[in-house]
Symmetry: C2
Subunit: 471 residues, 2 copies
Amino acid sequence: MTSSLEEIRAEVLKRVNPNESERKRVLSLAKKLTEKVREAAKEKGVEAEIRVEGSVAKNTWLRDCPEIDVFMQLPTTTPKEAFGTVCLEIAKKATEGYKQIERFAEHPYLEAIVDNVWVNIVPCYRVKRGEWISATDRTPFHTDYVKPLLDERMGEEVRLLKRFMKGVGVYGAEIKIGGFSGYLCELLVLNYGSFVEVLRAAGNWKERIVIDYEGHYERKEDTKKIFEEPLVMVDPVDKGRNVAAAVRKEKLNEFIAASRTFLEAPDLKFFYPPETKALDATELVNKINARGATIVFVRFEGVTAVPDVLWGQLYRSQRALRKMIQQHDFTVLRDDVWSNEKNLNIFIFEVENRLLPNMKRHLGPPLRKMLECENFLRKHLGADSTVSGPRVDEGRWVVDVKRNHTDIVNLLKEKLGDGGRSVGVAELVSKTVAESMEVLVNAETLKLYSAYPDFAKFLTEYLEGKPRWLT
Amino acid sequence: MTSSLEEIRAEVLKRVNPNESERKRVLSLAKKLTEKVREAAKEKGVEAEIRVEGSVAKNTWLRDCPEIDVFMQLPTTTPKEAFGTVCLEIAKKATEGYKQIERFAEHPYLEAIVDNVWVNIVPCYRVKRGEWISATDRTPFHTDYVKPLLDERMGEEVRLLKRFMKGVGVYGAEIKIGGFSGYLCELLVLNYGSFVEVLRAAGNWKERIVIDYEGHYERKEDTKKIFEEPLVMVDPVDKGRNVAAAVRKEKLNEFIAASRTFLEAPDLKFFYPPETKALDATELVNKINARGATIVFVRFEGVTAVPDVLWGQLYRSQRALRKMIQQHDFTVLRDDVWSNEKNLNIFIFEVENRLLPNMKRHLGPPLRKMLECENFLRKHLGADSTVSGPRVDEGRWVVDVKRNHTDIVNLLKEKLGDGGRSVGVAELVSKTVAESMEVLVNAETLKLYSAYPDFAKFLTEYLEGKPRWLT
């Protein structure tokens, strides 16, 4: 049963628009927090301007996940050492008695849960536009830029777009996701006029896309040369910054594909995908066996790092390992990585065959390179490493040599035994890998599968191998 | 222990040069046979000129394998039907009482063994140069061309070259070998001056080689355009014909490599390679297992055809099967074919793995091709053939689909069950394949290996995988 676009819009809006009382509650909480932070700063003798930023300031938050960003603008004279630490103290004082989590991006900041609402208290410098010191200094300018342009109706369009992106899994500029930030959603809606027009445009994106809403550059070609990311949204408040810099190509493609598919057959599941039901153990084993490939799991214990650092390290290590495996002639069908961001990380490599022959063809020089041919023969003729050959094949010498690694499990165990730094495993990952790594094949993953429901869901989706909105 | 080039030359010449009495015996036998054929022709009322051609006429035969070619030149008015049959009768009459074998190239001819010497009695037309009717008509012109140019010394050089080519396995223009004819050896020696100079030149051949000894063409570039074979020797008696047309690229490369290696370290084994000693059964099985790959043997019974036709069909079928196997995603490491030219033929395909996963990645259209994407999704989403996906990967839709053939043995059995015409198996091969094919894997080949010593030698050399002259 497909519903009309209008029906879907209405239904989603009903769910994402906060009602009057919810709105009042969030806004008054924001106001109260601002006061508390202001007082705490005063007590500390810190001359700071306190403002609400983000979706609450711009009236674009989603009803089911309000998040209050309180920013402390400090004078540029504040010493770098004090910038983070003092503000952290102020933030802690202001949210005394509530659950607090220290976070760290470029500088430390505080996350707190106040009356069931997530609150971030973040320091930045009060700078003139363009004279950025810290990465967070632009935020107040973003708020000031967007707020007057978004009326109530446009705010709704932003909410629709955000919810859609959450539903199809491309929302969030954090490293784990590599998708679209809230500010980017707002600019997209401003640029195209509405949620549906953003999707319609995205569905037709084919080349690299450059949007320069404020017209900072005279010619699109210049912009294309300055930025190199797949999607470019020139920041209206900073012509040197790409608001979409975090968007990875794969997330961009998923958004394009989802936009198109949604417009063809609008459905609520794009906004609210059904929860994945993990396969039971027997189904899992059957499904893995039915593929006939080999799925290798490398599990290791938690890495102490904030999520952005953790995921950066995980992705980098995953790429390095994939490359290493390929260089040893295994055919990698797919690979993925999972983490509960606490005590468990798992790399997945699915290869065509667990084993390779004991020998591999080693290509020598073409016959016309006479000196190289001589050296090649001297090296391989009768050598211990030679299984058969050398012989002339298609105009060049070739020899079959012993293969060092014929089993991907042993390959991974060997290369990762010391943490795998030499094959490109990232530093923090390397440490815990060396201490706690275990390599599991196919059904051997069952013990993890049963112990970690989130991993079970993840692996179920991996085996399904398609976006949840595609049914 | 390496010997000097001179020592090797002298030793080989001692073995290939017929001594005076052997020479006399062969020449007087040739004369006697000429007389006999002449008489038999006369009796039949056929007006034919009878001549000795080939290595005996040109004094370039090898002592250990003299072969007398007697040619019957018939008037061009002889009807096509009579050309073969009448001559065959004459030849039979002339060699009455000796072992006789009917052969067939373009026309039938007779092979006989007279006093332990192989004799060919071959018909041709007596034509003016250039007005060729039958393929054999050029032969007397070749004899007449070469004979006055080759003195005793040059004859020796030809013998050295022929023996070398035999030793390294590139002698013979028949399809099975695809190598160098005796006439081509003679022209090479004429062109370069001596055996060693031929090898020296060949060792330096890098591009396509064109030799126009008589200077039929003004510019080498023209000659390169007219002929397309890897080695071109313009026939001195027919500018439109390449004497080296039969030389396959791989044989040319083997000759180049052998020439070079011999000149670096002259050795008698290039002329007289040691006999291959077949591995015993245990060694064979160990060697096959040590490779860790899968060797598949397709055996089938004899094909009724002359060797050139048989080998043409075998090679064509081998290529077609290799391609078919590759198209089904198996990685072919090497392949080969063996025949005893009687009751047994065997294809060999060595692949990385006997089994492939049950699924294969099927690439769909890139996202920018919107209509194709829609069709792709319609076809694969939820289809029986879909194992997982579709999903977006590197800017295009992909889906994992069920693989039809996961076992190379079953693949071959299925594709060859009806003879394999549809996958390109040649006609005569196809017939016996359909009736008698058997597919064996690795050690299963032992029963053939033990029953056919020549196959055992062949397989031993295959596993060794290098030219016999390379040690």
